[in-house]
């Protein structure tokens, strides 16, 4: 089956090895910091601040492939505070 090549901004990428986050192509195995002490996978998780309060915890949500994932509706992956 022929399918359109996925685009990220104005570039194409290989979804078997890369993902598109904010018009930036990242390798699937990329990890980043969410908050000061929580490592997450930006291709598969969302880094979501929990509150504006002084504690300002972060929570990680699962990205759903093929869907525009959002912090308020995505299922929880992990709580960075724990």
């Amino acid at each position: 089956l022929c399918q359109p090549v996925p685009r990220c901004g104005d570039q194409i990428y290989n979804p078997l090895e890369q993902c598109c986050v904010d018009d930036t192509i990242l390798p699937l195995q990329r990890t980043q910091l969410c908050g000061l002490n929580c490592i997450y996978w930006p291709c598969f998780e969302l880094c979501c601040p929990q509150s504006f309060g002084p504690q300002k915890n972060f929570i990680l949500k699962l990205k759903v492939r093929g869907v525009k994932s959002q912090c308020h509706s995505a299922p929880i992956s992990r709580d960075c505070g724990r």
């Binding site: 089956l1 195995q29 980043q32 880094c47 601040p49 300002k56 525009k68 308020h72």
Partner: protein, 348 residues
């Protein structure tokens, strides 16, 4: 992951020792450094305007030059400053004039990213109680979306319904088209075969792993016959209980915690049964649902605090609400996990 990743992790760990976020070496106050594209991107383009009144962007919207989100992108205005209109920065309350971007950006060089023209994301949901905000919270805007555009819930519900309808129509037409081919191929066996109706495995435009999910060489027809053979020798349990499971949504499994726990105990551990990776674990189940191997690596990195199987089920349910327990049962059967199938049949 090579030495580059190790170095990055080491740098990340060093960065954690810093008491607070340092300003970007490359970008201005209202931008952040994109280490992959090597340019400065707009905070407003990524996060949208401040969702709450009297809030503004923090330095580089909380991102360091490695792309880590270290602090919340927004903060309350300093005393004496206000931002009722959702501008990027606060301004003195009395003047009512929005503050301009700091001149010269502290001497930092600006290398703007060449961004595809697109509208600024709408203002997100303000989580603060209403008494802490001066302006009324918009009832239409959704909550904070940090990496994707936000949409209102009503159109998304309609969109999901339309998508489900289109999927059902595609599945029906696929079955109608494949049925004559199956009868032709399996006429000598005297029976027809019904393939698992999994839109997530075959032909789903979101999976991009379609070639890898079909059997590789020697050929599709031979692979079909092999799959047919396996189908014939499935335990009677499958034929008896699948009809009962077929009509039930996969989301039910998330509510039946005892059954889910039993499946987690059976499917999550690696290696699989008989001490061999060849038999199906959650990793193989994820592949059958069209997820890349790296996703399984990520899901298994969540252990022990989080089950990869639970994460997989939540992912599938979120992506396709119409997914059924029957599809899961068919995948388990193809993986040769009769033990897990027996557990699943309790829901039948």
């Amino acid at each position: 992951m090579g030495t580059g990743c190790f170095l990055h992790t080491a740098l990340l760990l060093m960065a954690q020792a810093l008491p607070q976020l340092e300003a970007s070496q490359y970008c201005g106050h209202l931008e952040y450094w994109n280490p992959d594209n090597k340019c400065c991107s707009s905070c407003l383009q990524r996060f949208g305007p401040p969702p709450c009144p009297d809030h503004e962007f923090v330095e580089n919207c909380g991102l360091n030059d490695f792309g880590d989100l270290l602090t919340h992108p927004f903060r309350k205005c300093p005393p004496g400053q206000c931002n009722p209109d959702g501008a990027e920065q606060c301004s003195p309350c009395s003047s009512g004039v929005a503050a301009s971007t700091p001149m010269g950006n502290g001497g930092r060089t600006l290398q703007r990213c060449k961004e595809v023209p697109k509208p600024i994301p709408p203002k997100g949901f303000c989580p603060l109680p209403s008494e802490e905000t001066r302006a009324p919270i918009s009832p239409v805007s959704s909550s904070l979306s940090w990496t994707t555009k936000s949409t209102s819930t009503q159109p998304s519900f309609v969109l999901i319904s339309v998508l489900i309808l289109v999927l059902v129509l595609l599945l029906i037409s696929a079955v109608i088209l494949l049925l004559p081919l199956q009868r032709h191929c399996c006429r000598h066996k005297g029976k027809t075969i019904s393939l698992p109706s999994s839109g997530l495995v075959c032909g789903d435009p979101n999976t991009y792993t379609l070639p890898s999910l079909h059997s590789p060489s020697p050929g599709a027809l031979e692979a079909l016959e092999t799959r047919t053979t396996e189908k014939v020798y499935l335990p009677p349990l499958l034929g008896k209980d699948l009809p009962g499971l077929e009509s039930q949504p996969l989301s039910r499994l998330l509510d039946e915690l005892e059954v889910l726990e039993e499946l987690i105990v059976l499917l999550d551990p690696e290696p699989g049964p008989v001490g061999c990776m060849a038999y199906g674990t959650t990793r193989h189940l994820a592949a059958r649902y069209g997820l890349p191997a790296t996703w399984s690596t990520f899901a298994y990195s969540l252990r022990p605090s989080r089950s990869p199987l639970r994460a997989l089920i939540e992912m599938v349910v979120a992506r396709e609400p119409s997914a059924s327990l029957g599809q899961l049962g068919a995948h388990l059967a193809h993986l040769g996990r009769a033990d897990a199938l027996r557990v699943l049949s309790k829901l039948g």
